[in-house]
Each structure stands twice: as structure tokens, then as C-alpha cells.
């Protein structure tokens, strides 16, 4: 990865920070209103507002405010949530693990299943199994994450009552060890399934398209001529190449997974970043919204950066290119 790309990432970071800082301050009206939200201000006395403005440094020049904001970020100070009555950073760190667990597992499971089904289906292009899978996943792909979450909740949670309707674990149960793990998994099952189901379709479709296109490549013919076992052609030759677009699109997929998590956590009241941002929006808690935006953006930037860093290892052709 070249210097140019690293600068791209730094620029992206600067844009994220700048948006966070400037957007509320440049909007017409009282910046205090934009930063703290209407509901927070209603209950405040005028003296408290003046005090807050002073403390926030909103009466100082913009550049000085920006500098203070930056040093705040470096120190880990992302502001104070009026709605939840606590430092934003603490709230974020409390929610982040759950979202990482949910999206991380969803990413791994959907990639694995979607990829294998995609390879097997593309290999059998035009046959019954392929057409069945393709049609099935096309339909699945037509259901937005929101709707899939709803269906699962209604069917397995409400109607069948097999899984809890919300939360990440049974409150006040004081479980430990294996039973705690099982409890967590029990709560995780429905939101995770919903997220996997939405992501699996796009992963499958992308893999299948790549595989079908790759099958016409001469090197596949070479492999067949060499007497390579079909299974090895499918995975060593076709699979390895069709993994590339899936890896390249990790960034896009993470964005999509996060979006999905946003809706699904909201539906299942799963205590991750998605639910946090939903509540923040509901409560017009702007410091928290900004905090979530900042943290999620940084996490996705980091993962993207990492993927680009290791990408040349799986696609040797990239080494000689610009990056």
C-alpha cells in the first residue's frame, strides 16, 4: 500500500472528524441547540445555557474550538450524553462489543455459507440446484434487513415463542460459565440469523456471478486438462479467484452489515451501537449521535485499511499496480 492510499485514509478520518465538528456548528440557529438537542435545552435555565456555552467554548473563535475538539478526541473525551446521563465514550464502549459480536459473527457465517453456496451453484450453472438456489436467494435478497428482522421476531419470538424478544442476555439472572454463554447465544440467535440472512444473499450472488464468469476463463480449461479433481478446480482455482471481489468489498459489506445491525438491534432491542444510535436519535441526543458516528467510522476505516493492507497477499497482481 502506497503513501497515497494512506493519505486517503487520513483524509477520510479528517472528513469524519470535520463533519462531526462543523455540521452542528454551521447549521443555522443556536449551535448549542444542535449540539445538545432540543429536549436537553428545554429544562435548562438561561444561566445554565450561558455557562454551558462558555464551558463548551462556543463563544471562542471556530479554529480554537476545533483545536479543543481535536485534543478532546485524543484524550478520549467524546462529550457527555445528556439523555443517558454519562460520558459518551463509556456508553460507546459498553455497546461496541455486542455490535462487534453480532456483525463479526454475521460477516464470518454469511461469507462462509454464501461463498460455498455461490461456488457450488455457479459450478452447476443452469441445473436445477443452481436455478433453485438462485431464485431462492434472489427472493431473499428482495427482503430488506428490516423486514427479515420483523418476520423472524414475529414468527420465532412472538408466535412460536422459541427465542427471547429482546436484549443480549437475561437480566439479573447472574448466570456464569457455560450457562451464561448459552444464554448469550440464545439471545443472539434471532438477530444474528436475521443479519446473516440479509448478508448471505448478496455474498452468494456476488460469488455466483464471479464463478460463472471465471468458469469461461482458459486457466480453468488448463486445470481440467491437467486432470485436477473437480473439487480442487472448484476451490483451488475458481474459489481462490472468486474470493477476491468478496474481500475487496469488505468495506461495502461492513457498511451494509452495520446498517443491518442498526435495524435489527432496534427490532430485537439488542444493546449494541445500533440500538444506541436509535435511542440517541429518539432522544435527540446529539453528542451521542456524533460519538457513534465517530467510533463506527473509525472502526470501519481501520478494517478497510487492514483489508487493503493484506489484499496483495491474496491477489499478487495488485503488487505491481499503483497502490
Amino acid at each position: 500500500m502506497g503513501r497515497k492510499r494512506i493519505i486517503d485514509y487520513l483524509m477520510a478520518l479528517v472528513i469524519v472528524i470535520s463533519l462531526n465538528f462543523f455540521l452542528p456548528r454551521l447549521l443555522p440557529g443556536d449551535p448549542l441547540l444542535s449540539i445538545y438537542g432540543e429536549d436537553a435545552l428545554i429544562t435548562m435555565t438561561p444561566e445554565a445555557k450561558v455557562e454551558l456555552t462558555r464551558r463548551m467554548g462556543l463563544d471562542k473563535p471556530l479554529w480554537e474550538q476545533f483545536f479543543n475538539y481535536l485534543s478532546g478526541i485524543v484524550k478520549g473525551d467524546l462529550g457527555y450524553s445528556y439523555y443517558f446521563q454519562g460520558p459518551v465514550l463509556d456508553l460507546l464502549l459498553g455497546a461496541l462489543p455486542w455490535t462487534l459480536l453480532l456483525t463479526g459473527l454475521a460477516l464470518i457465517i454469511s461469507t462462509l455459507i454464501g461463498f460455498i453456496l455461490g461456488v457450488e451453484s455457479g459450478w452447476r450453472k443452469g441445473r436445477l440446484a443452481d436455478q433453485g438456489l438462485l431464485t431462492g436467494f434472489m427472493f431473499l435478497n428482495g427482503f430488506p434487513d428490516l423486514v427479515i428482522g420483523l418476520f423472524l421476531l414475529l414468527l420465532f419470538g412472538v408466535v412460536l415463542g422459541l427465542f427471547p424478544l429482546g436484549g443480549a442476555m437475561t437480566p439479573y439472572s447472574q448466570l456464569t460459565g457455560v450457562s451464561l454463554l448459552l444464554d448469550v447465544l440464545h439471545h443472539l440467535f434471532l438477530p444474528l440469523s436475521a443479519l446473516v440472512l440479509t448478508e448471505i444473499a448478496s455474498c452468494y450472488l456476488l460469488t455466483r456471478t464471479t464463478v460463472v464468469t471465471l468458469l469461461e476463463e482458459p486457466f480453468i480449461l488448463t486445470a481440467r486438462a491437467k486432470g485436477i479433481k473437480p473439487k480442487n478446480i472448484r476451490y483451488r482455482h475458481v474459489g481462490r479467484n472468486s474470493l477476491l471481489p468478496i474481500v475487496t468489498r469488505t468495506g461495502v459489506r461492513l457498511g451494509r452489515l452495520f446498517t443491518g445491525a442498526l435495524f435489527i438491534e432496534t427490532i430485537f432491542a439488542y444493546p449494541g451501537m445500533g440500538l444506541l444510535i436509535y435511542r440517541a436519535i429518539l432522544g435527540r441526543d446529539f453528542p451521542l449521535i456524533q460519538g457513534v458516528f465517530f467510533l463506527v467510522a473509525v472502526v470501519i476505516l481501520l478494517i478497510n485499511f487492514f483489508v487493503e493492507l493484506i489484499y496483495p497477499r491474496i491477489d499478487p497482481r495488485v503488487k505491481n499496480n499503483a497502490y
Binding site: 476463463e217 482458459p218 486457466f219 480449461l221 488448463t222 486445470a223 481440467r224 486438462a225 491437467k226 486432470g227 485436477i228 479433481k229 480442487n232 483451488r236 482455482h237 481462490r240 479467484n241 477476491l244 491474496i314 491477489d315 499478487p316 497482481r317 505491481n320
Partner: protein, 552 residues
């Protein structure tokens, strides 16, 4: 040993290979040549059992019919018994695996060697094809075209197959690299049974000892490489050779008229063949032995059009021709060269029946000519040396061109005008009324000679005897007229007996040459040979006196 029996390959309704039979004995290198679309790659792939079409017939390696085996068993034979060097060298490697991994893969996959041994053998093979070991650790895109070709060859050799199939191994390479790869292939081919598919005749010539000419999925001609490429006997092979540029060819490039039609009755080449007869579109010719080679042609290959035996002509005690024998094939240009007074014009006149020979016989299309009748003149026409003389000043252009038709009583007046106009267009003269009404003295020398040619062609003859047709013209006009005649030959399969004293010109237009001295043929042979290695002192003398710009 590889045997192909009754191989037929179809894609849907399209038949790509038709009832093909071939035997490649052990150690033989057989080149399959033909235009693109002839079915070469399909044939190559079918030998690997990888042809996606519907394959019928047998492909037998050492007594085992490869095609009848179930796929898992075919897989075991691939690369062990028969391996292939693929055509598209840029895309035949997996882009994300190193070259070495891919070379080792077949040895490991067939569990022939341990990983360590396989690696050792891979490096040995890389060395054998002239690649440094470091190239093995590279990825395909890091290699040059020639290096990729070498790596592909190394990969084909891993499992020591007896049969090697190569699909256009030199197509994507520049001349120098091609030469090096050919050298390498010659070494690699020893002890192997090889099928080499290529459209590059020079590669075939260098590498193969036998050649099969494929057209529309059928073999047209099969035999020893040197025979076939130097002296093609099937009209299609001759077209291929004529359109292939080589350094030693003297005649200009000529193509093959028309293009292949997939569905037709009879001979697949019939629609492009200039010597076809009615049966050609009805009966499918079989590949039959003709001397050393096999030809699939109802007419037995390129036919003999005119044959002259032992022709002698004496004018009042002076012998103008003394026992002259020559022959002309369909679609061929034969030059008769010699200084003035060597008997060239006399020969032309005797052939046309304008002079009666004292001795000897003339055969046209196998029949001995006793009487020069209208039928004969329909098929044989002559262009004279001086166009001013040979066109009557009393006839206008239209009447001049129509005259042969009037004489032969062919067609209605309207049809004659139509034919005349077409003949004029063929020689690139205008066919407007204004021009049709002109008389000879209004025309330039070049226009007059074109008019003479148009008049000769209006009968659509098979043989054109041209006696110094351009000697009265400027070099630039001569060039145009000669190009015109050559084009007509390509389109119609016209045979030309070209009589000239200009050896430089003869070299550019003729397939074969007869050198005439004092009424006798002193040397005869292929133009390529006569002009580069003349045997007779007289020919050498003539050549020395020929126009050239060289300083030595």
C-alpha cells in the same frame, strides 16, 4: 500412438468436425493447419476430452478409446497420457498461483511424486525450457509472453505424457521469440507423439513432419509437410499457401475467394472452389490416396487444364519450336520466358490454333485438340501484345466487347450488353454510355489493353494466354493491369499462360516458369526455385540482364 476414428463434433445444429479420421504414429509430429473457424481448436480440445460440444466417434490412445471412458477415468488419463499447451498464454495460468505451484500441481494431483520430488522436477523442467528458477516463484503476470509460453511447455511435460497437443504455440509471439520457441519445441518433441494445431504455415513447416489441412471440420489434404506446403495439390491448400507471406515466395499474395458456409451439400469447399463441377455440390469427397499424400477432392486435387507434348513448328526450314512440352493447372500462372526469337509467340499462336504445329499434341481438360472450334475458344482466350492492333478502329467500345458473344451466338442483345458491361467493370473501365460509344483511337494505351482483356474475359474462359500484354505500356499502367489479371485469377480460378521477356515481371506473377531458348525448353520449375537457384547457364544469363536496383 494416437488414432482418431469417425470423429464428429457438433454444437447444437452446428457441425464443427465431420467424420474425421487420423492416425498419428508414435514419434510423429502432425500439424493441423487451416483458417480460423476450421475447427482446429475444437479438435485439439476433443483430444483432451474437454470439448464442450457433442462428440461422437473414437479417440484411441494405445488401444484405449478415450471417449468411451467415464469422466473420472478420463481425468486420470489427462496429463499422464496426453497433455496440452494451450493457446491463450496470457489467460491459461491461474493469476493468483505462482508458476511453480501450477507446474507442480499435476504431479501432486495425480500423486506421482512427493511434494519435494515434484518441486525438484519442476525446477528441472524450468531449466529444460530455459527459464531461471526465480521465474518459477513469480506469478504469471510477471512473466513476458515468451517466458509464459516456455512455462506452459514445461507444465505440459510434468507427467511425461506420450501425446502432446499444442494449440497455436507461436501465435502470440514476435518473430525472434517464435524462432526460439520453435527451437525449444523441436527438442521437446523427440520421442513424443505430437499434434500441433496452427494457422502459421511456417511453424508447421519447421516443426511437423506431416500436415493435415483442415477446412470446415474436414481434412482436405494430408501428407508430408514439405510436399504439401511446397506443392499443394488441393485447391484449398494452394489458396492457403498462396495467402501466406514467406520470404522465399516470389508471387504476390493471393487469397481464397468467398468464405466458408457451414451447411452445404457435397464438398465443404465447393462454394469457394474455382474448379468445381456439378458433382462437387452433391457428393462428399473422401480422403483418398494420391501418390504419397491423401486428398479429399472429387477432381483429385488441382486439375490439369492444358497439356502440350512435344510440340514442334518449322517455318520454311527454320525451327521455331523444337519438342516443347508444358502443362498448366487450374488457377495457375505459368510464365514462358526467353529472349525475342526464342519461339514464345509461336508457341502462343500454335496453342490458339492460329498456326498449325508440325508435330506434337495439345490436350485441353484431358481431351486432345484436333480442331480449334468455337467450344475451344470459349474456354481459351488470348491477349495480344499490341492493343492498338488487336482492336478494330471501326468498332466502338461496346461493340468490341460484345463481338465474341456475337460470334459465339451467345445470349440476346440485352444479355450481351449486360455481360459486356460487367466485363468492363471487372477490368475497372467505366460502363457509361458515353464511354461505350468511344472508339479505340479515343482511348489511352492502358485503357485499350483493359478493353482487350475485357473482350477476352467476356466469354469467361478458363485459360488466358497473354503474350507480352504489357510490353507496350508504362510501368505504372503495367502494374495496374497485372494486378487486375491476378485479382481475376483469384476470383475465377483463371489459369494464365504468361509469355514475357521480362523476368522481373514473371517472378512477381507466376507460380511456375518455363525458360525457352531457340525453341526448346531449357529449364522448368517452381518460380521460387528458378529465380533463386537457376540451374541452366542461359537462365542465369537472362537473370543477370534483368532489371534491378542492386549495386552488385
Amino acid at each position: 500412438m494416437l488414432e482418431i476414428k469417425d470423429l464428429t463434433i457438433t454444437y447444437g445444429r452446428n457441425t464443427v468436425i465431420k467424420e474425421l479420421n487420423l492416425t498419428v504414429p508414435k514419434g510423429d509430429v502432425l500439424a493441423v493447419i487451416g483458417e480460423s473457424g476450421a475447427g482446429k481448436t475444437t479438435l485439439a480440445l476433443s483430444l483432451m476430452g474437454l470439448c464442450p460440444g457433442n462428440v461422437e466417434g473414437q479417440i484411441i490412445y494405445q488401444g484405449v478409446d478415450f471417449l468411451s471412458l467415464p469422466e473420472p477415468q478420463r481425468r486420470l488419463l489427462r496429463w499422464n497420457k496426453v497433455s496440452m499447451v494451450f493457446q491463450d498464454l496470457n489467460r491459461s495460468f491461474n493469476p493468483v498461483m505462482t508458476v511453480l505451484e501450477q507446474i507442480m500441481e499435476p504431479m501432486l494431483e495425480h500423486e506421482l511424486l512427493s511434494r519435494k520430488e515434484a518441486q525438484k522436477k519442476a525446477y528441472y523442467l524450468l531449466n529444460k525450457v530455459g527459464l531461471a528458477p526465480v521465474k518459477g516463484q513469480m506469478y504469471p503476470h510477471q512473466l513476458s509472453g515468451g517466458e509464459k509460453q516456455r512455462a506452459l511447455i514445461a507444465m505440459a511435460l510434468t507427467n511425461d505424457p506420450e501425446v502432446l497437443i499444442l494449440d497455436e504455440p507461436t501465435a502470440a509471439l514476435d518473430g525472434l521469440t517464435k524462432a526460439k520457441i520453435c527451437e525449444l519445441l523441436k527438442e521437446v518433441f523427440s520421442e513424443k507423439t505430437v499434434v500441433l494445431v496452427t494457422h502459421d504455415l511456417s511453424t508447421a513447416y519447421q516443426l511437423a513432419n506431416r500436415v493435415a489441412v483442415l477446412y470446415q471440420g474436414r481434412i482436405m489434404e494430408l501428407g508430408l509437410t514439405k510436399d504439401i506446403l511446397k506443392n499443394p495439390r488441393h485447391p484449398y491448400t494452394r489458396g492457403l499457401v498462396r495467402s501466406f507471406p514467406t520470404l522465399d515466395a516470389t508471387k504476390d499474395l493471393q487469397g481464397i475467394p468467398g468464405f466458408g458456409i457451414e451447411k452445404q451439400e457435397g464438398c465443404v469447399f465447393a462454394n469457394r472452389c474455382t474448379q468445381r463441377i456439378a458433382d462437387c455440390t452433391k457428393i462428399i469427397p473422401k480422403l483418398e490416396k494420391r501418390g504419397e499424400r491423401e486428398i479429399a477432392c472429387l477432381r483429385g486435387g488441382v486439375v490439369n487444364l492444358l497439356k502440350v507434348e512435344d510440340l514442334t513448328k518449322v517455318y520454311s526450314g527454320v525451327t521455331a519450336l523444337k519438342g516443347v512440352s508444358l502443362d498448366i493447372e487450374e488457377g495457375e500462372t505459368v510464365a514462358v520466358v526467353g529472349e525475342s526469337g526464342s519461339g514464345k509467340t509461336t508457341l502462343a499462336l500454335c496453342l490458339m490454333g492460329l498456326e498449325k504445329a508440325n508435330q506434337g499434341s495439345i490436350y485441353f481438360q484431358g481431351e486432345k485438340i484436333v480442331k480449334w472450334n468455337k467450344e475451344f475458344y470459349q474456354k481459351v482466350q488470348m491477349i495480344f501484345q499490341n492493343p492498338q492492333d488487336c482492336i478494330s478502329h471501326r468498332l466502338n467500345v461496346l461493340e468490341t466487347v460484345c463481338e465474341p458473344l456475337v460470334i459465339q451466338k451467345l445470349g440476346t442483345p440485352e444479355e450481351r450488353i449486360h455481360k459486356a458491361k460487367k466485363a468492363l467493370r471487372d477490368v475497372e473501365l467505366p460502363d457509361e454510355d458515353e464511354f461505350l460509344n468511344r472508339y479505340a483511337h479515343h482511348l489511352s494505351g492502358g485503357e485499350l489493353q483493359r478493353l482487350a482483356i475485357a473482350r477476352a474475359l467476356v466469354l469467361e474462359p478458363k485459360l488466358l494466354i497473354a503474350d507480352e500484354p504489357t510490353s507496350a505500356l508504362d510501368a505504372s499502367i503495367q502494374a495496374k493491369i497485372m494486378r487486375l489479371i491476378m485479382d481475376l485469377q483469384e476470383k475465377r480460378g483463371l489459369s494464365i499462360l504468361f509469355i514475357t521477356h521480362d523476368l522481373a515481371l514473371a517472378r512477381k506473377v507466376s507460380d511456375r516458369v518455363f525458360v525457352l531458348k531457340d525453341g526448346q525448353v531449357v529449364e522448368r520449375g517452381l518460380s521460387t526455385q528458378i529465380f533463386s537457384l537457376p540451374q541452366h547457364p542461359y537462365t542465369r544469363k537472362l537473370l543477370q540482364a534483368t532489371a534491378n536496383f542492386s549495386d552488385f
